[in-house]
């Protein structure tokens, strides 16, 4: 079947740098996965939501505040930090 995706585009969206061999491998695997979904889409299934994936409101969390990690612990697991904040390369969405 024709590929319903552009492997270069997907790799870019996922921030992955793929070799030609990897691209070929993942394209083929993705095609298999999409093939399964194609088969599912063609099957005559009820349009209702799968009951097994439905919970009622008892599965909800009560609005009770719990413990926090603290800024020290949060910044410790980050590659870089400053003044209790996580430091990242500059991202710009200001007026340019």
């Amino acid at each position: 079947m024709a590929e319903g995706f552009d492997i270069d585009h997907l790799a870019k969206l996922a921030r992955l740098s793929l070799t030609a061999a990897e691209k070929a491998l993942y394209s083929s695997q993705l095609n298999q996965i999409l093939g399964h979904f194609q088969a599912l889409a063609e099957a005559d299934l009820p349009s209702t939501i799968d009951d097994a994936r439905i919970v009622n409101e008892a599965a909800l969390r009560s609005d009770e505040p719990g413990p926090v990690l603290g800024a020290e612990a949060v910044t410790r697991i980050a590659p870089a930090s400053r003044d209790g904040q996580i430091s990242v390369p500059r991202v710009v969405d200001d007026e340019s």
Binding site: L13, E64, G66, R90
Partner: protein, 501 residues
């Protein structure tokens, strides 16, 4: 070829992001609140650390359903959550949990009131349809410093209801009116606080223009992250003018994401994150689909407050309030309910009570408490009645004393000021200050007769008898003076007419 702006019609749709009034975050138990040190309100679920699972906060779901009920939406049987995938450091998990296919609120409408010709004239009413509202998590906050950016995840995971309108708005004034009405509904139902200074309400504004009479919508732009009603209004005005200018110059409109610089009052194109709109949504495998019981819907329906414009119509039609007073009262649910308690205690003069509440009480409350910030800088400050010493029945008592002619309206202002300070009953203050008007007919008759006999007023009497109605007023002053202002003016008038008639 020249055309006037009136040849064009602007079409506006809004996406309003509101932080819901909860104590814990939407999928995690971490508390949240404004003004905390960076990253102090973060837990492993917020960061999406390995082994953690999101669990939906019941209060956030119920507040969302309540909003739906407030705007007359249908509450679906089920709702579910999806992952919106993107890489940006405001988002610790590389995806945002949101609702794409099965949102918690579908449909509904918001009644709006446009400004009238003047302050005391009611403007046109319209209904703006809600497309849907979905419950998602807010993202972290970025600040830019030098060569890097800093990330604070305190805001990440805060329950955010995104309310999406149909493109029903046709002017900046309508957009403004819609936001005012929406904020009133959200706050009056206790769904959200909508505090602009705390960033609790942010808005994305979609604008397009088309020639009048043309059905097809023009290409729209989206201006993101507006955090005040005035920014939304200014954006609509700016963007409308810009698009008309472009089109009239023979250029086309690019569908783009824009930002707004409130200081310079101008919009700008946001440097598009590459492929930013390719979010590769898919159902979140960690959160099961939620079935919303009809029992919950029934319970929440009881919490829906009276719609503010239904209340306004009731005040004007049933209580015969002037529009100005009614419109002030209905903006604040607590104030309106306070007013109604006072009316219940003295049902014969709702207008008299409304005047004192909407003018004197509101003014003194606002003066005694610092006004809290709101999304709407132009709106009257929300006041707190909790610190108000006057109880509704006491205010009713004051109005009754005035209605019964025990004190004059002028004296009522003085008594009110005293009540506001001390919380004493009006009657007690009237007695303590010796303000009780003299309604003793016998004594007053004597004074009236003496004043009439005074040659100094003979001319006025002659004029009155000759048909000059106003001349009678010249006699009232001396009578008031002799009674030290305590005489009932209505009674004076009656007695004068009796003796002169």
């Amino acid at each position: 070829m020249s055309t006037s702006p009136s040849d064009w019609e602007v079409v506006i749709g809004l996406e309003v992001h509101v932080q819901l009034h909860t104590r814990a975050k939407v999928f995690a138990s971490s508390p949240w609140g404004f003004g905390k040190e960076p990253n102090e309100q973060v837990d492993p679920v917020v960061l999406g650390l390995p082994g953690t699972l999101p669990v939906v906060n019941r209060e956030a779901v119920e507040k969302s359903i309540l909003f739906g009920l407030v705007v007359g939406a249908s509450v679906p049987e089920h709702c579910s959550w999806d992952r919106k995938n993107y890489f940006y450091p405001d988002n610790p998990k590389n995806y945002q949990l949101t609702q794409k296919d099965f949102p918690v609120v579908v449909g509904g409408q918001v009644e709006i009131e446009l400004p009238g010709a003047s302050r005391n004239v009611m403007g046109e009413h319209k209904f703006i349809r809600i497309h849907h509202a979905h419950l998602e998590e807010d993202v972290g906050k970025l600040s830019h410093a030098g060569s890097g950016s800093l990330v604070d995840y305190n805001r990440a995971g805060v329950p955010l209801l995104e309310i999406v309108t149909e493109p029903d708005l046709r002017s900046s004034a309508e957009a403004e009116a819609f936001l005012r009405s929406l904020v009133a509904m959200l706050t009056q139902a206790g769904v959200a606080d909508c505090d602009m200074e705390k960033g609790q309400l942010r808005c994305d504004c979609n604008v397009s223009v088309r020639r009048r009479g043309v059905e097809k919508l023009g290409t729209r732009t989206e201006t993101k992250n507006l955090n005040s009603i005035s920014s939304v209004r200014d954006t609509v005005i700016y963007e409308t003018a810009r698009q008309i200018r472009e089109l009239e110059a023979g250029r086309s409109i690019t569908q783009e994401t824009r930002g707004w610089n409130a200081e310079l009052a101008r919009g700008y194109v946001l440097r598009d994150k590459e492929d930013a709109h390719d979010y590769r949504y898919f159902p979140d495998p960690d959160i099961p689909t939620l079935k919303i019981s009809r029992e919950t819907v029934a319970r929440l329906t009881k919490l829906v407050p009276e719609n503010l414009y239904d209340r306004q119509r009731r005040y004007v039609e049933k209580l015969a309030l002037p529009y100005t007073a009614a419109s002030v009262l209905v903006n604040d649910r607590a104030l309106a309910e306070w007013f109604e308690l006072a009316v219940a205690a003295h049902p014969t003069n709702p207008s008299g009570i409304a005047n004192l509440v909407a003018n004197d009480l509101l003014r003194d409350l606002a003066a005694s408490a610092g006004a809290a910030g709101s999304f709407d800088e132009a709106a009257p400050a929300q006041v707190s009645l909790s610190s108000c010493l006057i109880k509704p029945a006491q205010l009713a008592g004051l109005v009754k004393l005035t209605d019964d002619g025990v004190i004059s309206k002028q004296q009522a202002k003085e008594v009110f000021a005293e009540m506001f300070k001390s919380g004493q009953d009006a009657a007690a203050i009237v007695d303590a200050k010796g303000l009780r008007q003299n309604s003793d007919t016998g004594e007053l008759e004597k004074i009236v007769q003496e004043v009439i006999a005074d040659p100094a007023v003979a001319k006025s009497i002659a004029e009155y008898r000759a048909g000059n109605e106003k001349a009678i007023n010249a006699l009232k002053g001396p009578i008031m003076k002799r009674t030290q202002g305590k005489a009932n003016p209505v009674l004076i008038d009656q007695l004068l007419r009796k003796f002169l008639g």
